[in-house]
């Protein structure tokens, strides 16, 4: 791994900020929240840099910070919670091409943040339940419970059944 001495934060930022912003986008489902979350996590990294650069795993620090921040921020903001931005319906040219999964994506966006974060870590970051537990600072039982509830909610979501059409 590259030696991140002589400060090295700018180099780390240049190399990894795009990937971290992508991770933030998947965690939050919103480009605006993703930017806010990623910048806050990078700000914390900046302050901890003199200590962390010796460990040479700054990206792991940022990703754990982002996952935990996302859960705690949303807990505080739950009354303000929006589903993405003021949304457009139907098929717009600019939306990610999710095809028949469009409704499922909306249902994913409406999950409580801890449940969505567990799914992101499991299905996007490809972490084991033990790794997810370590990332979020909870037990593996809590991880499995959140994943199970999230999947059950998605299968029964009115969004999915209404917009995807198992029932009208």
């Amino acid at each position: 791994m590259r030696d991140l001495t002589d400060d090295g934060f700018e180099e780390f930022f240049r190399l990894r900020s795009a990937a971290l912003l992508r991770y933030g986008h998947v965690l939050t489902g919103s480009p605006h929240d993703a930017a806010d979350l990623t910048q806050e996590a990078l700000a914390r990294l900046r302050e901890a840099w003199p200590r962390l650069r010796q460990r040479q795993d700054p990206e792991g620090y940022v990703r754990v910070t982002m996952a935990r921040l996302h859960v705690s921020w949303w807990r505080r903001r739950r009354r303000e919670r929006l589903v993405r931005d003021v949304p457009d319906a139907g098929y717009r040219d600019g939306e990610p091409d999710l095809g028949p999964d469009r409704a499922l994506a909306r249902a994913l966006a409406a999950l409580p943040p801890r449940q969505r974060t567990v799914l992101v870590l499991r299905y996007y970051a490809d972490q084991s339940d033990a790794e997810i537990a370590e990332t979020l600072g909870v037990s593996t039982i809590t991880v499995r419970s959140n994943a199970s509830r999230a999947l059950a909610k998605l299968r029964l979501s009115p969004e999915v059944t209404t917009l995807e059409g198992t029932t009208p």
């Binding site: 900020s17 998947v26 480009p31 910048q39 739950r78 929006l82 949304p87 990610p96 994913l108 009208p168």
Partner: protein, 409 residues
């Protein structure tokens, strides 16, 4: 496909759609650092103040009243009760049509613009053998024929195609996009050779994913909002009669609303700054007056649509005319809200209703109702500035139903 596989696909697609860090992203990190330092200093100061006040509180016997709870929403100032939505054919008789659900050769298609009540600009969305995705056609619904205008395809590159279409004033504008390439084109609606209006400067690994496009008043104008690089994202215009494309001065960070008006909307749920508008022809600027002090707010020259924890709301640009119980979505042509109802359904949950269009001028409100005998439906608003809504039912895939809002006066 199992739901776990679909979730993996969705997250991967969302990651691919994420914007790249913009030129101000790094400065944003520094702002967060500064905010954290300020917050720490404030917390220390507050700690001292709290200690002082706590001690003082033990000495003072004061008749205390609970602080008034401030509702961030204004008191009711609704200009008119928001009506319940009714089926489109009842609300706007004569504006609804039925189109075939497939092209004459069996291909799938999307409706992009209305030329007249029987003629539509459409784009092919299926793939071979019916025909390549990316083809733009004119569909004559009276004669059940099509005429190909453009085949925007690239052999061996499935990612290449048409991502936006607009039609008016005898011209069809469209945007082609592929990995590392993108361009704005014009072609006469009667047919002929397409003319490239402008290349789009793209980020390294993607084409434009979100671009607004309009033809009006002798111009074609467009505003890419993601996937396009360059130091000055904004709104660009070119004359239909020819000449180079140029950026509208002062349009950095703005997108199209009702041309020639551009807008810089507030998307962030923490936003307190009001949206601002710019007239691309005259340079006139307007600033919205917030009826609700914080949250996302999107505006047209006359109206604004916001969303808070109670649901969507509407207001005039000057902050008056506050009304709730409205659909959320997009303001089109400074007159219609194209969207759907959205109501709180519990903590962290929203319930989305049926596709709706709300006429801001008259207060009338149309809806596509679910019907159990028709199965589920898919619908589209055509994209961009198109004044149309169309949908199809699972049990009737051979038919599109469409509402033509250009017929509403």
């Amino acid at each position: 496909m199992k739901i776990e596989e679909r979730i993996t696909h969705i997250f991967g697609t969302e990651a691919d759609a994420a914007p790249l860090p913009g030129p101000t992203f790094r400065a944003g990190v520094d702002r967060h650092v500064q905010r954290r330092r300020t917050r720490r200093h404030t917390v220390r100061a507050l700690g001292v103040a709290t200690l002082v006040l706590g001690l003082a509180g033990t000495w003072l016997a004061v008749d205390r009243h609970p602080a008034a709870v401030t509702d961030p929403r204004p008191a009711t100032t609704s200009e008119a009760p928001t009506p319940a939505p009714r089926p489109f054919a009842e609300v706007w008789p004569g504006t609804t049509r039925t189109l075939p659900g497939r092209l004459p050769d069996g291909g799938e298609y999307a409706i992009r613009a209305v030329l007249d009540p029987d003629t539509y600009v459409v784009s092919r969305t299926g793939t071979v053998p019916a025909g390549p995705a990316g083809e733009v056609l004119v569909l004559d619904n009276a004669r059940h024929t099509t005429r190909s205008l453009v085949r925007a395809t690239r052999p061996g590159d499935d990612s290449f195609g048409v991502v936006a279409v607009a039609a008016a004033e005898g011209q069809v504008a469209y945007v082609t996009s592929g990995v590392g390439t993108g361009a704005v084109w014009l072609v006469p609606v009667t047919g002929g050779s397409p003319r490239k209006v402008a290349d789009l400067a793209l980020t390294a690994d993607q084409g434009p994913r979100d671009i607004e496009l309009v033809i009006a008043a002798g111009d074609v104008a467009w505003s890419p909002t993601s996937g396009v690089t360059g130091a000055r994202p904004g709104v660009w215009r070119a004359a239909l009669s020819g000449g180079p494309a140029r950026m509208v001065p002062g349009s950095e960070g703005m997108t199209l609303t009702a041309w020639p008006w551009l807008v810089a909307n507030a998307h962030d749920q923490k936003a307190t700054a009001p949206p601002t508008l710019l007239n691309a022809d005259t340079g006139e600027r307007r600033t919205a007056v917030r009826a609700v002090p914080v949250g996302p707010l999107t505006c047209s020259p006359s109206w604004c649509l916001g969303l808070d924890s109670s649901g969507p709301y509407l207001q005039r640009l000057d902050g008056t005319g506050f009304r709730t119980g409205v659909p959320t979505g997009t303001i089109v042509a400074d007159r219609f809200v194209f969207g759907f109802s959205m109501t709180p359904a519990g903590p962290d949950q929203w319930r989305f209703g049926d596709p709706e269009v709300y006429d801001l001028g008259t207060g009338r409100r149309g809806v596509v109702r679910s019907r159990t005998d028709n199965g589920h439906r898919t619908w589209s608003y055509g994209g961009g500035s198109a004044l149309l809504l169309y949908w199809s039912w699972e049990q009737r895939p051979d038919t599109y139903e469409i509402v033509d809002f250009t017929l509403i006066r």
